[in-house]
Assembly symmetry: C2
Homo-oligomer: 531 residues x 2
Amino acid sequence: MAPAPPVTLFYGTFVDLPRTKSGSKHELSIRHGALWVSTSTGRIAGSDWSITNETQLQALLRKNAWPHNVRIIRAREELNEFFFPGFIDTHIHAPQYPNSGLFGSSTLLDWLETYTFPLESSLGNLSKARTAYDTVISRTLANGTTYASYFATIHIGATNLLATLAHARGQRALIGRVCMDNPSFCPSYYTDGSAQESLRATRENIAHIHTLDPEGKLVKPILTPRFAPTCSPESLSSLGALAASHTPPLHIQTHISENKDEVSLVQSLFPDSESYAGVYDKHALLTKRTILAHAVHLTQAEMELVASRDAKVSHCPASNSALGSGIAPVRQLLETGVTVGLGTDVSGGYSPSILEAARQACLVSRLLRHTHQISESGKAKDGHEVLSVEEALYLATRGGAAVVDMADDLGGFEEGMLFDTQLIRLGGVVSDSEEREMASTPSDSVVDIFGWESWAERVHKWVWTGNDRNVRAVWVGGKLVHSLNDGSRVENGGSVFGALPGLTGGSSDWLKYVAGGVGIGALGLLLGRRR
Amino acid sequence: MAPAPPVTLFYGTFVDLPRTKSGSKHELSIRHGALWVSTSTGRIAGSDWSITNETQLQALLRKNAWPHNVRIIRAREELNEFFFPGFIDTHIHAPQYPNSGLFGSSTLLDWLETYTFPLESSLGNLSKARTAYDTVISRTLANGTTYASYFATIHIGATNLLATLAHARGQRALIGRVCMDNPSFCPSYYTDGSAQESLRATRENIAHIHTLDPEGKLVKPILTPRFAPTCSPESLSSLGALAASHTPPLHIQTHISENKDEVSLVQSLFPDSESYAGVYDKHALLTKRTILAHAVHLTQAEMELVASRDAKVSHCPASNSALGSGIAPVRQLLETGVTVGLGTDVSGGYSPSILEAARQACLVSRLLRHTHQISESGKAKDGHEVLSVEEALYLATRGGAAVVDMADDLGGFEEGMLFDTQLIRLGGVVSDSEEREMASTPSDSVVDIFGWESWAERVHKWVWTGNDRNVRAVWVGGKLVHSLNDGSRVENGGSVFGALPGLTGGSSDWLKYVAGGVGIGALGLLLGRRR
């Protein structure tokens, strides 16, 4: 077999959000040209934005003495295709995925009891866990999520399986075994039992992940105290110490100030702490690698504490609306210096899509002027609090990258960055009605482009009306991990994937991959040690 | 040719929301059985909920002496298919559809100037209008909207074309030529010029629609003063008088209290009126056939006035969030006795889907407890204001039917009602991961059913995670007006549409339909008299 070409070439329109200083306005960067990715590192090796046609593209190949069989992936202008950085989901509960859309009219604390704990506890069954985890990984990849910070369950076996599946599918992920040992706030059927047991199980999970991916190239562990009420002070302290004992320190994720009743509960449970954020800080859990989900009801003083520790916030607007938690004051967080990314919070959030999270972030920021919060925070209702589409996309990519401590590696198209990317297809311009067909085909995009829109307007239409049908292909570290198999490659003569031999058959490759190594079924049995 | 069979039989699971007295709790009605629709009237001729298998179905045919070639449309249990009443969009601007997703960070009044008036005025060009209107009809039908109350533009020709297209496509519709004659608040390039001109043009449009559909079986005119600021008092009065001069009175639609600045503007423009609702009432525009869009900031006294006139409200939550208008207090409206339906308000709303409107209605009702509004209205923040999924679906069907004054004809599966229905497919149960494929196909539903969900839970999953891909077929008055052509009929051996000869080829039928009568291109020229 010939050696793999040294690079893969991507050609067409690239859209990303340039890194900016805090407080400056975010704008779309829209560039046309060629970008090449190193086959060995999966990183962007170079780019040339002066290339506008095939002749120049061929000249580029000759200039670099790249072999004739170099792969060229083209974003097709006539189908309004463009490359966009992969989405980063900074907060998602993988085991809750089967409950997506099931929450009735509940709010946080009764939702946990009624919907969440029963489902999570049932995933001790590895067969159930495998189905749930395989589905959630498929759905997030299909929605362009190249990196997810997952909460799992308390089960070692199922949590190990989630890590193995994400790794095998090529999704970048943080995997957290949930720690919950406080008998007063954990159901008797779903608890770690003690702080010692919680720590021991967590160490076992970390060992599995470090064996699976020793360098943490794709999958890394993350310490996951569920939230203050479900954790004893001993458990919180031991997790803080465990994080600090590693070099670099381990990632940490938890929830904070999602719901007002929860905030009151934490005040009553931790009377010695000045605030909810103070509880975590006291136990050394506010670090630069900490992800705090929600932060809807933080005080200004808490925001300042979070900012001073450089801890990060995952904004989960779909969930916060669905459970009636409130609207996180994102502008205030950003202006206080807190780094913010987006989270789907499946299944408090009903959707596995970060595009939906970006939409919801825009929508709720436009409602903030009607809430008590903004007046309490002393800010004028001048529209200053509104998040633009560009800001929401920044949070979905660059913001998320910073939240998972990879701001230099992910979120844009700079040389040296990892190529975690989606190929978006909006579809061709709406045809004249005489030729239009009554029956639409589901391979059609639901984004309607009429031909007069600027590129920026096309991106806005994608954000507001697009969905997973627009995500035609997804790469993580330069490797194709998802492609939409709708026959368009056949129809279109293979122009998108024509030069991509061996990577077009996602389905069979995946089966081959699994069959050639350790089958998923066997993996579950091998790795799934249950408590 | 053999005569058409007297009925079409629909067999499987039927979900609707029973009509209830105001204030009582809405529940899903989930029934399995057979229902038959008269070919001649398009109405439900009968139903039998005791039929559970093919043998009983065949016995039913024999018992009624129906011919052998009677059509049977089956909702397939193994694909989680069910029949659901068609959605009613009580407020949508057809000409704004091409701007879906384009609104930036604007609010109502600057949005009108920047985005809306320029686009609307450009639709005087009939070719542009045809493309926009054909697309919006396609998209709304594809999303299960069987009845839409459309705002058009000020142009007679283009408005006539919209009526003709809706009629030809078989979508039930109210069509309103927009009236706007106040030079202070209409741009010079887009105005009726005078109250007389506005009335004359409106009459011309009504005449066209009455010629097109004399009995108003599908398409009816609706008087459409844009909103109080764009209309002179003479114009408002003459439209009120025109509505009352018909038997039954003509439908009326307009906007009310969407945005606080707009409310202040109306107060300053109409100092003699006590309130915004009072302005419309003074001009005889608050009738039982009036649709008031938005009603976000009505006072309790205004709600009582609206209720006393039996005027209706179109709740447009996606739009109200997108433009930062606020959250309409739906519970308060309902408890005051106002009839409420849902509207997409394209393109203040970014989506043509009433399912999305239902989701947004649920979401914003869960945020209401965090707003000033609910405290001003003196209601406790006890969750009472939250809309359940069932209530949102009620508003999307029964509520909408009442808003368009067809509560006895549309919105459910009672005998005698018109069969305006969608066939929803959630898809089969998620398969074991060993057999799962990496590459998803876009014909897959994105609703994931794991097998343990109750029917009610399946419906909730549809509401929160479904989209147009789940709408497999749509009927209006018993006539198939949309079907999803994804090859599944071939795959599945035609079990859904197998007994539906001549109706499966939506695309070619449509072309034949148009070609056999008057081509759309010719229609535009024939009917499109421009001012």
